[in-house]
């Protein structure tokens, strides 16, 4: 049994569903003891949800000024590696995970791999994308501890309940780093972040206006916990904010289902969504390159097909 840590992310009081796949990756079919590290003071509240996927140790980590200091968060993770003799530590490749893991790796002089799709702790290897999703690299991390962030939704969560206990952890980590979070500007909407979503429906340039995204929003609602994305062409035309852009210079996503509406299928767009499980394309042009690289296609006008799809989803 190896001890593997997982940095758990809670956002706006909610446990992100994408944490569960990371726990599954850490447990390697029950081979490892999983230490779920919770920094938001919610360890008791999320204990049952985490143990359902195989986390037997719930670490309630705390330190003065923790929330406002990413360097302190990294220091707490470093202390947890020592305290619990962790030989692996993984987390989500989210905005926060990418940042805190890179800080930790740099501070400890450990190798680290970002945005992985597979991890093997015994072999100390990871698999991750290189060249904007065109190739997959196998990398060996030559260190006592394997540090990696995992692409949200890349690993299917497996329900594997265990008994869990909460461990209080208040390490003596030194003063806040020189970087401080001074303000959070919340978007105020309850929209799901694209990288978290299990289903994504995206509109490209032919959407034509910001208002027209409404038909995609309606379809997303009918799909159930789905998020709406945009191509760079649509973002550059001012139809959607950059936070909605999927692709090489936007977000990298890996949902179960990706529905592209009015997308030509550019290399740069695919760089951000190629690892989706099932890709559906709706396009008026039967020769559009996207039909060469997706699973199901509907040749037709998105303004006609999407509302019809919304209706069909609402039935039953």
């Amino acid at each position: 049994m190896a001890n593997i840590g997982v940095l758990i992310e809670i956002e706006g009081g909610e446990l992100k569903a994408t944490n569960f796949g990371v726990i599954t990756a850490a447990s390697e079919q029950g081979k490892n003891d999983v230490y779920a590290i919770v920094m938001e003071g919610a360890a008791e509240a999320v204990k049952d949800q985490l143990s359902a996927y195989g986390a037997g140790k719930i670490v309630a980590a705390d330190a003065d000024g923790l929330a406002a200091s990413p360097d302190l968060q990294a220091a707490v993770l470093g202390a947890a590696i020592q305290e619990y003799s962790l030989v692996g530590l993984v987390g989500l490749a989210s905005a926060r995970g990418r940042d805190v893991f890179a800080r930790l790796a740099a501070a400890q002089g450990l190798p680290m791999a970002a945005d992985c799709v597979a991890v093997d702790f015994a072999a100390k290897t990871v698999q991750k994308s290189h060249f904007s999703g065109k190739t997959v690299a196998t990398i060996r991390l030559d260190a006592e501890v394997v540090l990696a962030t995992i692409r949200p939704n890349a690993i299917e969560p497996v329900n594997a309940p265990v008994e869990a206990e909460v461990l209080q952890f208040a390490p003596a980590v030194s003063g806040p780093g020189r970087v401080s979070i001074v303000e959070a500007k919340l978007s105020g909407s309850d929209k799901m972040d694209l990288t978290e979503a299990g289903v994504i429906i995206t509109g490209g340039r032919p959407i034509g206006s910001a208002e027209n995204y409404k038909i995609l929003e309606e379809c997303a609602a009918a799909l159930g916990s789905a998020a709406v994305g945009a191509s760079r062409a649509a973002v550059d035309a001012g139809f959607a904010p950059h936070s909605m852009q999927v692709g090489q210079t936007g977000k990298t996503v890996s949902p179960k289902l990706y529905i592209g509406c009015g997308l030509s299928g550019s290399v740069q767009h695919f760089a951000g969504m190629k690892t989706s499980k099932v890709i559906v394309a709706i396009n008026t042009d039967k020769d559009a390159p996207i039909f060469e690289k997706c699973d199901y296609g509907i040749i037709g006008d998105l303004f006609e097909v999407v509302p019809a799809l919304t209706e069909a989803l609402k039935e039953k």
Binding site: T125, T135, S180, V267, V305, A312
Partner: protein, 256 residues
């Protein structure tokens, strides 16, 4: 202000990557460019110096061919460059950060080090942090809004679904730029001509006393991601096709 911008020489994002051997690729057939995120860093540096005065120095760890990429960066307004020459296609990010540190420290005292949020070839997302740790400087990555004034950098980054956080760090510090920060300029012909005459100092890793053998991560294998073989095109009326699609997604693919 003395600003160093770390720019990586990478294959064009549209390039077809042909794997060669176990863990390499054929780089003689690809067009190379400045890492797209690093262009936001160059633009931010040039704008800061245009307003507050100072100098922008491009620092690259790469092959001799990276000189062309550096000329492009200098055409955008950077003043000169430093190239640390290496042979291999992939260099551990820890070694890269040591080379960047040594090159910068040999040259001067930075007020700011600007980088991209990540390199589009190796997608490492960490060199900024390693350079900052090695130089004992604060670091903020994925910056899409920035003000630098009075010994302080105030930066915004996205934290998900359009929400942002505002961070502060004293200067000198390391900042990683991302899309949204600015619109990188297209160099004009006279700027391209001028850039040809700008100075580029060159070093090898050995000149800087760095041994690449100390790498702690190793690329074992590089494999192409298999392309999908083409869509199953659904036929019939719009109504028939969407109903069939929903059935497939629910019953066969089980993704809904």
């Amino acid at each position: 202000m003395q600003i160093y911008v770390c720019v990586k020489h990478v294959p064009d994002t549209a390039a077809n990557i042909k794997i060669a051997g176990e863990n390499g690729y054929n780089d003689s057939t690809c067009k190379f460019i400045a890492n797209p995120y690093d262009e936001y860093a160059i633009e931010a540096a040039v704008q800061l110096v245009e307003k507050q005065g100072g100098e922008v120095v491009i620092v690259t760890v790469g092959p001799e061919a990276a000189l062309a990429t550096m000329r492009g960066a200098m055409a955008m307004g950077a003043h000169r460059g430093i190239l640390v020459k290496v042979d291999g296609q992939f260099l551990d990010s820890d070694i890269t950060s040591q080379a960047l540190k040594a090159a910068i420290e040999k040259d001067g005292a930075p007020d700011l080090i600007l980088m991209g949020k990540g390199a589009v070839d190796t997608e490492g997302f960490q060199t900024q942090y390693r350079l900052a740790a090695a130089m004992n400087l604060p670091v903020i990555n994925e910056v899409l809004k920035l003000t630098v004034d009075g010994g302080k950098a105030v930066a915004e980054r996205e934290i998900g679904a359009g929400s942002r956080e505002v961070l502060e760090a004293p200067t000198p510090c390391v900042l990683g730029a991302t899309k949204g920060l600015n619109e990188p300029r297209y160099p004009k012909f006279p700027d391209i001509m001028k850039a040809k005459k700008k100075a580029v100092q060159q070093f090898t890793l050995a000149d800087l006393g760095i041994d690449a053998a100390g790498a702690k991560s190793e690329l074992l294998k590089l494999e192409p991601v298999p392309e999908r073989s083409g869509a199953k095109i659904l036929e019939g009326s719009t109504r028939d096709r969407v109903v069939e699609l929903v059935r497939i997604l629910r019953e066969e693919e089980k993704v809904l």
